[in-house]
């Protein structure tokens, strides 16, 4: 671990003034005098500890005032500050009532201890958990290297990896909370050094590996997440979330699914279905959405939607089990709605 200096940011403006790089930029090609953000620190310090990230300065954005609020308005929806901890979201009764899938996703993320320190902004901006990407001994595409070790048909250890959109990088996104946020059509509010703000839908916040190998989201240096916005649910909105893990106590997702629906009686009027741990970024399954929309929510239709979601799946050498696992998980998650 290298030595670095510590800067306690007093405001968003102050933080943006100090910062000059991002974790992703540094991992792809390191620079001499990088200054980067740290929120909860869970992900950043892992990289620093492994010696893959060598910042000159770490800017602590965790204590910036004003970014730690949750507010809900039945007309405007939900606003969650980027420094709100996962534990705070998990215990928020309004979120449990109005955004059940988000509540469930947060409750299944990491461990109670980690949820006490992890922030929502940090969670959605964390990098993937591919063990080759995280290894100092494997210089993969994501780190500016010349190959994908996980993809190799004979030697790739890819049991946890992507089955969809895995043409360039086969990692899966590490945030299972993002799966639920995207299903709720959440947006990310990003502030920049010029004092401007933009609000980006979740679907556009994440960047596929094919578009940019260095990045998993659109955040640039000199940009910071300030809030996450969720539109208000209607009285007919229902949601559900299921995460499949090897260990229930604490584990990264092998397959997670969030479903948000507008229902009419037992029929689905419109559906938002997002898959986690399926692709390098949270994956909206338009095929599944189309398959279930305007249908009765029953086992047959749910299974059909789940199978439609897997139509484009291209498993790697060791993860073909994920296809039936997703079929089962999508089916169950849809059926939880009724």
């Amino acid at each position: 671990m290298n030595k670095f200096s510590w800067y306690e940011a007093k405001s968003v403006e102050d933080a943006l003034e100090q910062v000059n790089s991002t974790v992703s930029d540094e991992l792809y090609q390191s620079s001499e005098k990088a200054t980067i953000f740290k929120s909860g620190g869970i992900d950043v310090f892992d990289w620093v500890k492994e010696g893959l990230l060598k910042p000159q300065m770490i800017i602590n954005i965790r204590n910036i005032p004003g970014l730690d609020k949750i507010s809900y308005d039945p007309k405007k929806g939900l606003r969650i500050g980027s420094n709100v901890t996962l534990a705070e979201i998990a215990s928020d009764q309004e979120i449990k009532n109005q955004y059940l899938a988000l509540h469930q996703a947060v409750n299944h993320a990491a461990t109670p201890q980690l949820r006490n320190v992890s922030t929502l902004g940090g969670n959605i901006a964390q990098r993937n958990r591919c063990w080759y990407f995280r290894s100092v001994d494997h210089n993969c595409f994501r780190k500016g290297g010349d190959r994908c070790f996980a993809r190799h048909s004979k030697t790739g250890e890819n049991e946890n990896h992507a089955i969809l959109d895995n043409g360039s990088c086969v990692s899966v996104h590490a945030s299972s909370i993002a799966t639920a946020l995207m299903a709720f059509n959440a947006s990310v509010v990003i502030a920049n050094a010029e004092g401007k703000q933009k609000t980006v839908p979740m679907d556009d916040f994440f960047v596929s590996a094919g578009e940019d190998m260095a990045m998993e989201n659109i955040l640039q240096a000199k940009e910071i997440i300030t809030e996450i916005l969720l539109p208000p649910p209607s009285k007919n909105t229902k949601s559900s979330y299921i995460k499949q893990v090897a260990r229930e106590s604490y584990d990264w997702s092998l397959a997670d699914v969030a479903v948000v629906m507008e229902v009419s009686g037992n029929a689905c009027k419109s559906a938002s279905i997002v898959l986690g741990a399926a692709a390098p970024v949270p994956y909206r399954s338009v095929e599944a959405q189309q398959a279930i929309e305007n249908k009765t929510i029953n086992s047959e239709n749910a299974t059909a939607a789940a199978k439609a979601a897997m139509a484009k799946a291209r498993p790697l050498s060791k993860n073909d089990y994920k296809v039936p696992l997703f079929v089962s998980t999508i089916t169950q998650t849809i059926l939880e709605i009724s």
């Binding site: 671990m1 010696g51 958990r129 063990w131 080759y132 290894s135 001994d137 494997h138 070790f149 190799h152 004979k154 030697t155 790739g156 250890e157 049991e159 499949q244 090897a246 260990r247 229930e248 106590s249 604490y250 584990d251 990264w252 092998l254 060791k318 993860n319 073909d320 089990y321 296809v323 039936p324 696992l325 089962s328 998980t329 169950q332």
Partner: protein
């Protein structure tokens, strides 16, 4: 012969308890009755160091801080196979705070595999190459990162089956031409036969070699089961990593070590540095787990000592989690072929076992002797091969070989029962002559509710329930080089001293119990000072030998000290010491009730400030099966598993384990349960979770951490119920044995059998994962 006759309890209370008369040496203490009639032994006694452990005040090796102490970090290879052309330490040397750098160097000689370079050849990722001692651990780590090792890389092989191919890269260049027979005990055979990376086969053990005629056996059989089973590489993952603090000065060397064997570390350090054993002192007060990997000074012990020598200062060297996974041992994997024949009435007619396993660059990947000895069968052969690969060496791992072997054998027996159309538990009643396992099956089946078991795959719904059973055997070993000193101090203090260490199972507490029982005192009255080689030599914590080896001499020493004290009292009371007894903290007369004195008062009669008696392990009453300490009988166990299998997602949950075990005379029920719980949890972990993932393309372990190398956490741990069967055999003054290894052997097999019962499809490989379940169910295209 100075012997006397004594009648010992013999057998299993509630089943067949009787008596046996044995000739025992006159100096041995009188027989103990069964536990029901004892005060401290066999009870649920709280660990004497419980408070220190749960409050964090217990001092472990990594907590040791000495004046002027430096911190060390090891330099390790990051390629799997190479020669080293140069190592540049100039930058590291110049780093402020660095005190010494020690590189491992050899003196190359003609004819060696790499006779030109002084640095050792690299044969696996994580191999130690050197170390740095610095003012802080951070500086030491920085220094390591500043060292450049220049490698000339060579072809390597990680995957065992690839390593067995004709043209595979060779791990050790030296050709293997000698054709030697497989290993007989005590001979030099070590399986060094074969070609390329393949060594073996080993065909026998101390239980003997091949038996009968296998071909005839299979000809006699009406039913044959023939299968291949696979198990994974499993690393040890003790919470406390390996490590030492070495303080070496003119008076001698003191080594604080996290070790299962203080005496072995002492002997190794003495040999390596050419010191008399009297000048090396090894201390291990608390242990954070070993599981078989901490029997020695390892590579880190000599490294710390070399750095201490170079700097003249104490050196702290504890490994990190990654080093632990890569280089400090593992349970080798296995591919086991088993063929079992039986007659229609179930009688076994033949067992054939052939296995391959890799312990990386080391040997010892056999699958144990379970198939050879668990069930009597007149015709038996085994061929066990080691396959060398470019990976870290194996180490003993809680019942070496037997856990792998039981996974195969106990599934084959289950399959045989099914073919014979017999309930698997009834089938074991038929072929297993062990009396203790019979009782364990009966009591276990009742507690578990075995009668609920349905035919395989018949459970309804998506989540299917299954019940399974597995058995095991473990030899009763004792280490004869086991000694202990018991001191009675004037004024009442009682002290126990031995080099034996408490691996964490509660050895300190049982020693206190033994002495308290003998002296009629309470456990809190006894001070246990162990884990220090300046005290009499105790056994290593391996082979589950500790309880059987060290509790008899502990009782004997206490008895001898008591005898001295009673003689003093007898003199005062003008009676015979044989008329006196110690109980409830008092010395009293057996017939004259007016004669009473507290233990403390009695010690005031001492003319010296202490009575000190040292005793060593006597031979077993009635002799050994093998004179070096293989006792008669076995430590049998039967474990029952209940599982739920989600047939849509492939997830398996172990809901419940009932573990029925024997260990001779149980000494402390709470500690035994604790140890069985630990063994079962590790068995669950072996069956479902842990797996060393190696990248065959680069030779690196991909999950050398605690989050991707998956051990079970609270929610993965099933409900565990234990049954401890008392079994008396009158073999020593305590008649007690250990439970460490037996607790871990049968679990994975029981789980695999339960999974089969749930889904009706058998899994022949562990870990059992969603992937393997969905494949077995034909749900993966």
């Amino acid at each position: 012969m100075d012997t006397r006759k004594e009648k010992f309890p013999y057998g299993i209370p509630g089943h067949n308890l009787g008596e046996i008369e044995r000739d025992i040496p006159v100096e041995e203490p009188p027989v103990w009755p069964i536990n029901d009639k004892l005060n401290v032994i066999g009870k649920r006694v709280k660990r004497i160091d419980a408070l220190e452990k749960v409050t964090g005040t217990a001092i472990y090796t990594s907590d040791i801080k000495l004046p002027g102490m430096l911190y060390a970090k090891m330099l390790r290879s990051n390629v799997p196979h190479a020669t080293i052309s140069s190592i540049d330490i100039s930058k590291a040397k110049g780093l402020p705070g660095v005190h010494a750098i020690h590189l491992i160097e050899n003196t190359p000689k003609e004819g060696e595999e790499n006779s030109s370079d002084t640095y050792p050849m690299v044969k696996y990722v994580g191999q130690p190459l050197g170390g740095v001692a610095a003012e802080s651990l951070e500086i030491a780590k920085d220094a390591i990162s500043l060292i450049t090792v220049n490698y000339e890389e060579k072809p390597f092989v990680i995957d065992m089956e690839t390593a067995m191919e004709i043209n595979a890269p060779i791990v050790f260049d030296a050709p293997i031409t000698q054709q030697q027979d497989g290993g007989d005990v005590g001979e030099t055979h070590d399986g060094s036969k074969g070609e390329g990376n393949l060594r073996g086969p080993s065909t026998s053990s101390f239980f003997g070699g091949p038996r009968g005629n296998l071909e005839e056996g299979f000809n006699e059989a009406d039913v044959i089961v023939e299968r291949t089973y696979r198990t994974q590489v499993h690393t040890h993952m003790p919470l406390e990593t390996h490590g030492v603090v070495v303080n070496w000065n003119a008076d001698g060397m003191t080594v604080y070590a996290s070790t299962q064997n203080t005496a072995a570390v002492r002997n190794e350090m003495a040999s390596v540095f050419n010191l008399p054993k009297s000048k090396v002192r090894v201390i291990c007060e608390f242990m954070g787990g070993g599981f078989g990997a901490k029997h020695s000074a390892g590579s880190f012990g000599p490294m710390a000592a070399n750095l201490a020598k170079k700097t003249g200062r104490p050196v702290w060297l504890m490994l990190d989690r990654q080093e632990e996974h890569l280089a400090e041992g593992n349970r080798p994997n296995s591919i086991q072929y088993l063929k079992i024949g039986a007659k229609n009435d179930g009688t076994l007619t033949g067992i054939q076992q052939r296995s391959h396993g890799t312990a990386g660059v080391g040997l010892g990947a056999g699958v144990g002797r379970i198939a050879q000895i668990l069930y009597p069968c007149p015709n038996f052969t085994t061929e066990q091969y080691d396959v060398l690969t470019n990976a870290g060496p194996g180490a003993a791992w809680r019942a070496p070989g037997n856990v792998q072997g039981a996974f195969g054998l106990e599934q084959a027996i289950d399959e045989m029962a099914e073919k014979l159309n017999v309930d698997p538990l009834r089938y074991r009643d038929r072929i297993d002559p062990s009396e203790v396992r019979k009782v364990e099956r009966q009591r276990g089946a009742e507690l578990f509710g075995w009668s609920r078991r349905q035919p395989p795959g018949s459970s309804n719904g998506v989540v299917k329930k299954g019940l399974g059973v597995g058995q095991s055997t473990w030899p009763r070993f004792v280490t004869l080089d086991s000694s202990v000193e018991v001191k009675i101090h004037k004024g009442g203090g009682v002290e126990i001293r031995s080099s034996v260490q408490d691996i964490g199972t509660g050895t300190k507490t049982i020693l206190a119990q033994v002495v308290a029982e003998e002296l009629g005192l309470q456990v809190k009255d006894i001070k246990v000072n162990i884990g220090d080689t300046f005290f009499p030599v105790g056994p290593g914590s391996g082979g589950s030998v500790v309880t059987g080896s060290i509790t008899p001499p502990t009782r004997n020493a206490a008895f001898e000290a008591k005898t001295v004290l009673l003689k003093l009292v007898a003199k005062k009371w003008e009676t015979d010491s044989s008329e006196l007894l110690m109980a409830d903290g008092q010395v009293s007369h057996t017939t004259n009730t007016s004669l009473k004195m507290s233990f403390k008062e009695a010690t005031q009669l001492m003319r010296t400030s202490q009575i000190s008696k040292i005793a060593s392990r006597s031979d077993d009453y009635g002799g050994f099966q093998q004179p070096w300490g293989l006792a008669y009988g076995d430590l049998g166990s039967v474990q029952f598993a209940e599982v739920s299998v989600n047939t849509d997602t492939g997830f398996v949950k172990v809901d419940r384990i009932v573990a029925a075990h024997s260990c001779g005379r149980p000494l402390n029920i709470g500690q035994l349960e604790s140890q069985i719980n630990g063994g079962v949890i590790q068995g669950v972990s072996y069956a479902l979770y842990e797996n060393r993932v190696m990248d065959n393309g680069t030779g690196h372990m991909m999950n050398a951490n605690v989050h991707q190398y998956k051990v079970p956490l609270s929610m993965e741990i099933p409900e565990i119920e234990t049954i401890i069967v008392e079994e008396y055999s009158g073999r020593s003054s305590t008649d007690a044995y250990g439970i460490g290894e037996p607790a871990n052997i049968a679990t994975a097999a029981a789980i695999a059998n339960a999974v089969y019962n749930a889904i009706g499809v058998r899994l022949y490989e562990i870990p059992i994962t969603p992937s393997s379940i969905l494949k077995a169910l034909g749900k993966v295209s």
